[in-house]
């Protein structure tokens, strides 16, 4: 521990240099802007910035990338809350309650809560990263396919809680997401599935492309259908003291969501989207008023944003400790280290402690700096949102097109996006929730690959093999408890499958 403190002090001294601090601030601003723009996200931002960081020293370079990671994770929440289009997949869960708050004239509260939750979640994630990286690394080394499979299953049980209306439709949407995720190369054998010889499908369907279609293009269709022009989406968005006071009373919920975010973030392959939905499900299940979730409950915003921001610290844990990226964004961060000839993993602690502690401090200071930057820059970041709905429709359309093209450089993926735009719109109109589909899409490849690996490893003694994995058994027990809880809640609220009630409200996804 004293060594960690020494290297932290050294890293803090390094951060006192204007260059490193400026790099972090620039990364944060770019990250928030990229997060706000639908179609781009922290992954694209980090990937684009890596060549520029090559010319900086490793700590300053990582400060830029971590700034983009923090900012991008947060920025998507602003558009999710204020215009109902998550700037990044990470923010999709935040939209469930954030956007209804805006529609109810509480946009400032939603933006403030998402900012505070992001900052506090990221700080808690950073503190935990610094404090428990080595002990958790030893635990993470024991995690294999069985445990990841069980954790993915736990994430899928969140479908019951993120579904508004008919649970049956929610499960259908979730299974549809799992099925869409099977398109492309088989994760174990490389065998092509459901691609029909179409090159655009052979590598699988890009999640961002689907998201832009289902949320972006479907939103454009909805805007045109409503036919409202010359109106602003939000009248005035600024930091809300009422929201600050409300947030201060939610320390327990914040700690709980942070814990979920950190643990899920530390599990390779699960990621921020899952942590946000899981935190949302837990917040809803533990609420005295679960029916208000999805209708603008601020606790939903707090839970999702805290969890997905805390995931940043958690996700960097396995990268630093064992050299395994927990998610694609962290893989990009790893690339940012490797261009400097540094190999993330246990040896890095011994060979380059200054870099490790520099990363720690970048995560922590970046989280702290996000608060003034987000609040001071809120008008700038939201300037694009104070436009007529007609212009916003055209903007979302163009940003989706350009964003998808920038990400995949493929016209074929634009067709895929349009297709999913139509699918998303039809789902809204027939009141199928969209979030379970996204959850299925994200978890599908992880779940399938690890399920099949488990089957291969278990062989003829599969049950005995799983029974010999205590961590997996605990997680599977949690799955069973979650499913039971969902069934009980559904039966109590009268929204079980037979004769399920569906709210006759707006057509928001969720």
């Amino acid at each position: 521990m004293p060594e960690i403190l020494d290297s932290l002090l050294l890293a803090l001294t390094n951060f006192a240099s204007w260059t490193t601090l400026a790099c972090l601030v620039v990364g944060l601003v770019i990250g928030i802007l990229i997060g706000v723009i639908p179609g781009l996200g922290p992954l694209a931002g980090i990937s684009l910035a890596i060549p520029f960081t090559f010319y900086l020293d490793p700590v300053a370079g990582m400060a830029v990338l971590i700034g983009i990671y923090h900012g991008g994770s947060y920025g998507g929440a602003l558009t999710a809350c204020l215009i109902g289009v998550p700037g990044t997949p990470i923010a999709a869960a935040t939209m469930l309650d954030g956007h209804p708050m805006t529609l109810a004239g509480r946009g400032s509260e939603a933006a403030t809560l998402s900012t505070l939750a992001s900052v506090v979640g990221a700080i808690i994630g950073a503190v935990v990263l610094i404090a428990v990286s080595q002990p958790l690394a030893s635990l993470a080394l024991r995690i294999g396919p069985v445990e990841i499979c069980a954790l993915s299953l736990l994430g899928l049980t969140a479908i019951g809680s993120v579904t508004e209306g008919s649970v049956l439709k929610g499960v259908l949407a979730g299974v549809a997401g799992l099925a869409i995720a099977t398109i492309g190369d088989d994760p174990l054998t490389g065998f092509g599935r459901f691609d029909f010889g179409i090159s655009a499908l052979q590598g699988g369907i890009n999640l961002v492309v689907v998201m832009m279609g289902i949320f972006g293009i479907a939103e454009v269709i909805t805007m045109l259908e409503r036919g409202v022009s010359g109106q602003t989406i939000v009248d005035r968005v600024r930091p809300s003291w009422a929201a600050v006071r409300y947030f201060a009373t939610k320390s327990g919920a914040v700690l709980r969501a942070s814990g979920i975010g950190i643990v899920i973030g530390a599990i390779p392959g699960v990621g921020a989207v899952t942590s946000a939905y899981l935190a949302y499900a837990v917040a809803k299940a533990s609420s005295r008023d679960p029916d208000s979730f999805g209708k603008g409950n601020p606790d939903g915003v707090i839970a999702t944003e805290t969890a997905n921001s805390a995931t940043v610290g958690g996700a960097i844990l396995p990268m630093l400790a064992i050299g395994i990226p927990g998610e694609p964004i962290v893989a990009a961060l790893m690339a940012g280290l490797m261009i400097h000839g540094l190999a993330p993993g246990p040896l890095l602690f011994a060979t380059n402690p200054d870099v490790v502690s520099g990363i720690y401090v970048a995560v922590l200071v970046g989280a702290v700096l996000m608060l003034p930057i987000a609040f001071l820059g809120l008008p700038l970041f939201l300037l694009a949102l104070k436009v007529p709905r007609s212009l916003l429709a055209a903007a979302v359309f163009l940003l989706c097109i350009a964003g998808v093209y920038a990400l995949v450089s493929s016209l074929a993926d634009l067709w895929v996006m349009l297709f999913f735009g139509a699918v998303g719109y039809l789902m809204r109109r027939f009141q199928f929730p969209v979030s379970p589909l996204i959850l299925g899409l994200v978890l599908g490849p992880i779940f399938e690959a690890n399920l099949r690996r488990t089957v291969v490893m278990g062989g003829d003694h599969l049950i005995g093999y799983v029974a010999g994995r205590p961590i997996a058994l605990v997680v599977l027990g949690l799955c069973l408890a979650a499913i039971t809880w969902n069934v009980v809640v559904a039966l109590r609220s009268g929204r079980s499958a037979p004769g399920a009630l569906v709210r006759e409200t707006d057509s928001r996804p969720g």
């Binding site: 781009l40 088989d186 036919g227 010359g230 212009l391 004769g499």
Partner: protein, 146 residues
């Protein structure tokens, strides 16, 4: 309730199609992944689950479902989108967007010429500048325009 049953039937057919294609998947790597661990078992299981859920929706439709009111906006957006994707490689991002943006705005109900022309032009150039010069992303220049 009627539209829920229609949705259930459509989902069932989609599930059946997915199952049919899943049954055709026979690829496996000897000794590595076959049978339950092969590439087709998982999609088949998903297909069966999807079809069962669809049947559930047909048998137990939701009580209140808002029916599809108009296809107009969907057709307009998808037509503009499809035309955009077809024309993009020919005319490039700038020209295609300069045509598409005011069209979308007009269909969204915008009638003010200043917004239709000035707003859409500003928007297109702002997006172009952001991607081309800030993010340094190459957007299609258009083969007909060189």
């Amino acid at each position: 309730m009627q539209s829920d049953r229609v949705a259930g039937i459509v989902c069932f057919m989609l599930g059946a199609g997915y199952l049919a294609f899943g049954l055709q998947l026979t690829g496996s790597v000897a000794g590595l992944a076959s049978g339950m661990a092969g590439p087709s078992a998982y999609p088949r299981a998903l297909a069966v689950l999807f079809m069962l859920m669809s049947l559930g929706l047909i048998v137990w439709p939701s009580r209140y479902v808002s029916a599809l009111t108009s296809w107009f906006a969907t057709i307009i957006v998808l037509t503009i989108g499809a035309s955009y994707v077809v024309l993009l490689p020919l005319f490039g991002f700038l020209v295609t967007s300069i045509v598409a943006a005011p069209l979308l705005m007009a269909f969204a109900g915008e009638r003010r010429p200043s917004w239709l022309i000035g707003g859409s032009l500003s928007l297109v150039f702002l997006v172009y500048f952001l991607f081309r010069h800030v993010l340094v992303v190459l957007l299609p220049p258009g083969s007909l325009l060189g």
